[in-house]
Amino acid sequence: MVNNGFDQRGTVNIEIAHKAFSGSKGTLLALKDILLTINPGEFVCIVGGSGCGKTTLLRIIAGLETEYEGAVFLDGKKLTGTGLDRGVVFQEHRLLSWLTVHDNVGFGLAGLPLQERSKEERSRDIRHYISLVGLDRFEYEYPHQLSGGMSQRVAIARALAGRPEVLLLDEPFASLDALTRMRMQQEILRIWEAERTTVVLVTHDIEEAVYLADRIVIMSPQPGTIRKLLPVSLSRPRDRTDREFVRVRKSVHDHLFAPGGMTNLAPDNF
């Protein structure tokens, strides 16, 4: 990726001193000393075992977690809550069962002021993103008529419809079958290349990270910290059986499983 020019937006600066959750069993330090700069148009994958705080980190960038010490900046502007400048895709598609694909994709646009985006522009955007994820024929279908992979495509289109500068994906393909997952990995690359947004994808699948990322953020738990930043310089399309690919994968694996990298003491769902 060439990232020259001042007009390119989507720089994320993360400066989190710490983020703790307090529960019935006391407080748990989910994140500590996270310093990370993500470049415009960069594809970053955050890898780590359960409890390393990777989802929490993504939710902080999304603005869904607001109680923490520190700050996150998007293009130099401090983030305070959610916004259309960040598109979010969750592990579950979270589509609204009573809306068609078209209306689900346009769900977030309905609240925009008309002068910001006219009616015609909206419906053109909705069509564009439905088409981009390859679901033209399904525009007026309902979510229950779609497969898991298709639902996740709709979720991606919904996240993009707000024309975000950053696309945030939280284990988006984890609940898909292996073949669908591989196809969706190719798809997200194609979409990224077409849209040129910054992408942050959280995963526990090492191969997925090596296949997708420009840079891999390897995290370790208790407290969640960045263990290693690993640039991936393999050219795309990447071949999963290629010797270099396997080498990078092993390197990520070694970082993850090195002493202190993965402890199974951490509770789930953090």
């Binding site: 916004g83 979010v88 979270r94 609204l96």
Partner: protein, 279 residues
């Protein structure tokens, strides 16, 4: 992407099905479509009942023949009494149900959305709910008299609770993951309710309306049995007083027919509202 394309083994079967579009009939066996199966017992019972009544084994003042009951309904209709009684009963159910369901919707929506309202109101309403609604009758009669007000109040109380309860619980139990989607798009509280919470709660709300309507019918029977000078329930009491079993049976059938019809209408409206949503 059809399965026939993917599975060549299905190919010849598809071709065979084209030449013989229907499966061969069951030769040597009586073939009864499934949807007729359910009619066997009621039709047989009716036939047996008619037969036994005509022969005189069943005393006519105790269990008159189905044809006699039918004739009674016809006579009631011809005299204009039927229209009068059915009309007043339907009006009571409609007004009572509308009042009860409206109150249930209002309070259910309030307690479902505002935790404060729930903490304030729900314990009292639950306490009232634990009183079997018929037990209110003497009090309603004392307060509101024997006229329409007490009857409609009783029906409204019956319709209120299922609507209130279902809406309140459904709104509270909307998947927090969907609410997060609303947060991502910075929906206001009002938009959150209108665009996420209410649509998500709609299926359960419709179930509540249907049970509320069912209870409205139950309570109209109670109200009319306990003191009325018109209505299908009054017809029943009149039939009992004058020893005409045919009138009582005719009233039972009328209740069943109209109760079922309104439920069917409500169900159709509900399906319409839910559209193509997965059930």
């Amino acid at each position: 992407m059809s399965t026939a394309e993917q599975n060549p083994g299905l190919g010849w079967k598809g071709a065979a099905a084209e030449s013989t579009p229907r499966p061969p009939a069951n030769i040597g066996r009586i073939y009864i479509p499934d949807r007729l199966l359910g009619w066997i017992i009621p039709v047989s019972v009716l036939l047996a009942w008619e037969l036994l009544a005509r022969v005189g084994i069943l005393p006519p003042n105790w269990l008159p023949a189905p044809t006699v009951v039918g004739k009674t309904i016809y006579q009631l209709a011809a005299s204009g009494d039927l229209l009068k009684h059915v009309g007043i009963t339907l009006a009571r159910v409609a007004v009572g149900f509308l009042l009860g369901a409206s109150a249930g919707t209002l309070l259910g929506g309030l307690t479902g959305y505002l935790p404060v309202a729930r903490k304030l109101l729900d314990p009292s309403l639950q306490a009232l709910r634990s009183v079997p609604s018929i037990a209110w009758v003497p009090l309603f009669l004392l307060w509101l008299g024997i006229q329409e007000t007490s009857k409609i109040t009783l029906i409204a109380v019956g319709a209120f609770f299922p609507v209130y309860l279902n809406l309140s619980v459904a709104m509270r139990h909307v998947d927090p993951k969907l609410l997060e989607v609303g947060r991502l798009y910075r929906l206001s509280s009002f938009q959150m309710v209108r665009r996420l919470i209410l649509p998500a709660a709609l299926p359960e709300y419709i179930v509540g309306l249907r049970s509320g309507l069912g209870l409205a019918w139950m309570f109209v029977v109670a109200a009319e049995l306990l003191g009325a000078s018109s209505g299908i329930g009054y017809l029943m009491v009149d039939g009992e007083m004058t020893g005409r079993a045919a009138v009582i049976l005719a009233s039972v059938i009328l209740f069943a027919v109209f109760g079922k019809t309104t439920d069917w209408i409500m169900n159709a409206v509900g399906r319409r509202l839910l559209g193509h949503r997965a059930r």
